[in-house]
């Protein structure tokens, strides 16, 4: 019996399994982008108080850097038992001119990563309980990249 897939956090990304996107906003006056909006502590100082309209961020970008963690982080991270190393990617979005973090897609090989390669947003499992699998945004190398 398969578990229900639910987002690990509400309203940070769309749950379109084939083409998910991060749910950001764009300032009407400044044209700057903001994400994640739930904890967006930044604002464009040239346009204080500007209206921000919802926008889906670019689904692809280039890999800025990455690192693989070999020790289990403290709570509230829900680490599998036994612990498995995981990779965190920083991906630069062209249109937004911003760098967005995300775990490397489950099953992707960090040994094949190279700074500058094209990455695509996907959904993947973060942790699970008895009834649910909690999914989160991840970055996957675009298949066309060697």
């Amino acid at each position: 019996m398969s578990k229900t897939r639910v987002p690990a956090v509400e309203n940070w990304f769309t749950t379109d399994e084939s083409a998910p996107a991060l749910l950001g906003t764009r300032g009407v006056e400044s044209g700057s982008y903001f994400w994640p909006t739930a904890v967006a502590v930044s604002g464009n100082p040239d346009a204080p108080g500007e209206e921000r309209l919802p926008v889906e961020l670019s689904r692809t970008g280039t890999l800025w850097s990455w690192t693989t963690n070999h020790y289990a982080p403290p709570e509230p991270y829900v680490a599998p038992d036994p612990f498995l190393p995981y990779t965190v990617c920083a991906v630069e979005l062209g249109r937004e001119q911003m760098v967005v973090l995300g775990q490397l897609a489950t099953g992707a090989d960090p040994a094949r990563l190279e700074v500058g390669m094209e990455m695509e947003l996907v959904l993947g499992p973060l942790y699970e309980d008895d009834e649910h699998e909690y999914v989160v945004w991840q970055w996957a190398p675009l298949r066309s990249t060697p």
Binding site: S32, Y33, N69, V88, Q97
Partner: protein
């Protein structure tokens, strides 16, 4: 601008380690050492400026009062500052403002911490609106995760190697051998660093600083008070920087999920955040990178020390490895960096660390640093950064 200078007339520390005692004990030891060094009685202190710790309950949030009570209430005015790793310099800046405004003549600045084993973790509880909690929950983005991202970026941009990073640790370990306050006093080899277990690749256990217990304190005063108390030639604070970033902040920083967006109408800042921290301190002091005789920089990781060389203007971007390899930043070189041994030898005791950096500079400028003395040091800079956008730098001279 000597009109903005204050004097450092006392410095004191409690040795760093994993002592497992109450942080207040450490703070009192450091405070009493600084007072003795200054030759100032606790009862004469007019202002207490505490640097807070988030890990030790309410007493840690009101550290200034906590230390004042432990030393014995003396009626001094008090403030407590929290700015993560920058807390110590925020506390120093607060004391300086009180002195320069004429509200007090002499102040005690003190910070202390007791840290748990392992990764620094967010506060407990379900806090879905706290980015510091969420970064652990949704990404597993520990502090070393960010250090690993920067280190790999440095390798990609500048061709740095793990060997280069290891040489930072080798240098700092050697510097710290002669520091009685350091926690780790042991030489390490490049191979030791390379062979250590990987934490956040490319960084291993010996590339990343530990977390420690420790305390540091300063007695600071007006120049007039220093003169009238036999410290006419005291080390002076020439500049303090507590700047925030300028939008857009385009480097991914703790604890954020993303950088600011540089798209749209933005006035591009002249400097990145870390550069801007140093620039402000230099501007206040009327000094520049060429004036430095030594520097204490926040080597949370070995690779980050190299970043700082460039961010404080010791060299152009991409040239830090050369500076390290040719010995410029080693004791005996033109501008030794982390003569104390740095975080590599101390581990981080968050609210005490930025104060400890200034203690080290004070001793260096007095010529009292013993086996780790930078010959003829007259000008020093300390720098670090607190998460959530706190700059922290101090320039001292004699």
């Amino acid at each position: 601008m000597s009109g903005h200078d204050i004097a450092i007339i006392g410095a004191g520390m409690h040795p760093w380690g994993k002592w497992g005692r109450n942080f207040v004990e450490y703070g009192v030891v450091a405070a009493e050492a600084a007072l003795a060094d200054a030759g100032v009685a606790w009862s004469d202190i007019q202002f207490v400026s505490g640097a807070d710790t988030m890990r030790n309950g309410y007493p840690g949030y009101v550290a200034g009062a906590t230390f004042a009570q432990a030393l014995g209430w003396n009626g001094a005015q008090v403030a407590s500052s929290y700015a993560a790793c920058a807390s110590g310099v925020t506390a120093l800046a607060t004391a300086r403002a009180q002195i320069l405004a004429g509200f007090c003549d002499v102040a005690l600045v003190v910070g202390a911490d007791t840290t748990p084993k392992g990764f620094l973790a967010p506060n407990k509880g379900e806090r879905g609106d706290d980015p510091d909690w969420l970064r652990f929950r949704l990404l597993g983005a520990t502090n070393p995760t960010f250090f690993g991202l920067y280190a790999r970026r440095r390798m990609e941009l500048f061709g740095a190697t793990r060997d280069d990073f290891a040489r930072v640790k080798v240098k700092n370990a050697r510097h710290g051998l002669a520091n009685p306050y350091a926690r780790y006093k042991k030489e390490v080899s490049v191979d030791d660093v390379l062979d250590a277990p990987i934490v956040s690749d490319p960084l291993g256990l010996l590339d990343i600083c530990a977390t420690s217990d420790g305390a540091a304190a300063l007695v600071v005063s007006s120049l007039e008070y220093a003169r009238s108390h036999g410290s006419a030639d005291a080390v002076r604070v020439r500049g303090i920087s507590t700047v925030t970033p300028s939008y857009p902040q385009t480097t991914i920083e703790l604890p954020n999920f993303a950088t600011d967006s540089a798209a749209g109408t933005v006035s591009k800042p002249r400097h990145g955040f870390k550069e801007s921290i140093a620039v402000r301190a230099y501007e206040e002091a009327g000094l520049g990178p060429d004036d430095l005789d030594c520097a204490e920089v926040y080597d949370l990781s070995t690779a980050m020390e190299l970043d700082w060389y460039e961010q404080i203007g010791l060299c152009a971007p991409g040239e830090a490895e050369k500076l390290l390899r040719d010995g410029t930043t080693t004791l005996g070189g033109r501008v030794p960096v982390n003569p104390s041994g740095g975080l590599a030898c101390f581990g981080e005791a968050v609210p005490a660390q930025a104060i400890a950096q200034v203690c080290e500079l004070t001793w260096q400028l007095r010529g009292g640093a013993g086996g780790r003395q930078v010959e003829g040091a007259r000008v020093g800079l300390s720098i670090n950064q607190g998460l959530f956008g706190h700059g922290s730098a101090v320039i001292v001279s004699r």
